[in-house]
Symmetry: D3
Subunit: 137 residues, 6 copies
């Protein structure tokens, strides 16, 4: 077993808030992240795939295929978007980095499985200092 | 003459658009950056100050003072804000990195001058690949 | 289960030496790191916490709480300190990156447990090229 | 158990191709990487070793020893080399990052074992966005 | 006057040698860089353009145009290429970072001038530690 | 004219204090940096040299020569040292980044001049966020 990792980047706006809470509760929990006019980040998405090395190519999976899957399935929807309003697969969900990582997993997992490889980890860096890692359930 | 540089970071949402143009014109020029629901970035602001070394301290200017000026005068207003709606000194202005760098210069220049030092350069990195530098007029 | 990571930084001086050894033995094993006048580093501390996503917030744990724990419990003691002389929780211990990572674990583990989350990993980067990871016992 | 990591860098040329395939097949699978005049990269090699902390040194393993093993056993052969032609331990093998990571593992594993420590992971970053991790069989 | 910078990356193989010299002379001056089987790098190209801010856009120059010029005019020729053999504008020239920066300048300068902006600087990072800057003649 | 840059790194301890001042004055001005047990940093030194391209090599100056000058003349003295006690060329001087940059300039300038090239800039990064640049008098 060997693991390959591909990074892609996107820039997006979002707001953290719980619609069942008052504005005061939202501000108490989410602080500046609850700004109703939104704020934003440059996200770095790292996708790790595991598999055996194909004896005909020396690859676990062609990185061009992996790059295209990531770009077509998630970056196109997320880049220069408002995560709370513009992204079909995030509708009605929190836009915390945790939830975002899980939803990206759900989309990429079956697409990567079509290439005789297995999604192993989604890592999402939201800022220089904050990141999330998700390995599926 | 010697130059000192201090970096601070902020995360913000913005939209690029010209209010005198139609939606089509805006999209033709600004592309995805014209998204009316906003997108966002992690900005890195680098402030360079020049001056003589003070013989009592070995400093051009105390970096704690420089850090506090940057944080109090610009980061507090810009961090987790919407640059088009929340920032008094950007009202009615484009929120391109170029304009943002110039407006930050106008605010920091007199504050730094109070410390027997001279603002030399504002650099603003918007993404891993895009940046602006401004040296005043 | 999902993992969140927060990075904080500190700058410190230290010396590597074994008090039971001669100066020659210390220099033979620790080389330049045994300099009795000390040397120093900018350390990057990465703290990874695991847990379930809270359905009311979308968070494993509020990153502001995690940041405050790290800052109050370890960064305040380590930043701009001499690791061999100034830090109560390192008294009488080696100040290798390995030992430092373990001692930081001991301090942070119970504090994070108070927030319905679990400390998973301490990573400590000492230089661009050297790092340590500790996952508890 | 604790883990230490050491990074070293090398610059090399290579070509991805399968000698049993036609030029067309090679280009279809490997694209620009099949260029018969070669292309190249700055590789970053991260070697992670696990072990117990030695109570006399505070170290899992002396990083100077680890650095010397990596430099003498692999960097000297790989740096400023053509991976397809100049490196004895890669003769007749694919020079994909996956295969390269496995071959580096085979060389470093026994050398590190001589130091009462255990090789845990080889990570090889080929570009800013592409990397491989190998943990042995 | 304000300055905008755009970074693009390419991976290439090259060899440093003087065809008028003996192999011994080449090795004495260029060392491992003279390897006739080539070695390679991940280069980072930073292009800085200066100009006035356009009052209709807030831009010195549309970064999408700048990105496209860089990609079409230089990256397409240099990426995954052998700088000594595959690149028309480097034929018969040294492939040192200095010469490469000058030749990139010659190609980009007139293309950027068509956009009412002025090429100010070419910076080329060859490794983590080595870079060149060229400002024209 | 073209500019080449070489980066080298060193780790050192230091203390900021004015021996003509009381402890209170030192703490008021230098804060935690006045810690008499020292603190430390990983410094990154960037040396920029300008000159004409040598038509026989394609180089302004051989980077191996530049690297050796930097290592032999300054890194050997500064790495794993206490800047206040161990470095002959800093005796009796402040160990602020500003003064350090100037003293490195004085040492490197004549050595680089012996190679038909001219020292242009010393940049010294003390932390991720603080740096100094010096261009001589």
């Amino acid at each position: 077993m060997i693991y390959i990792e591909r990074k892609e980047r996107f820039s997006a706006a979002h707001q953290l808030y719980n619609p069942n809470w008052s504005e005061e509760q939202n501000e108490a929990v989410f602080g500046k992240c609850a700004n109703k006019n939104f704020h934003g980040h440059n996200y770095t998405l790292s996708v790790t795939v595991k598999g055996e090395i194909n004896p005909d190519t020396g690859f676990v999976m062609n990185l061009v295929d992996l790059k295209n899957i990531i770009k077509n399935e998630v970056i196109e929807a997320l880049d220069h978007a408002n995560l709370n309003h513009d992204v079909p697969f995030l509708k009605g969900k929190f836009t915390s980095t945790e939830v975002l990582a899980q939803e990206i997993w759900k989309i990429l997992q079956p697409k990567i499985a079509e290439h005789q490889a297995e999604l192993y980890k989604i890592r999402l860096d939201e800022t220089l200092n904050n990141a999330v890692e998700y390995f599926g359930d």
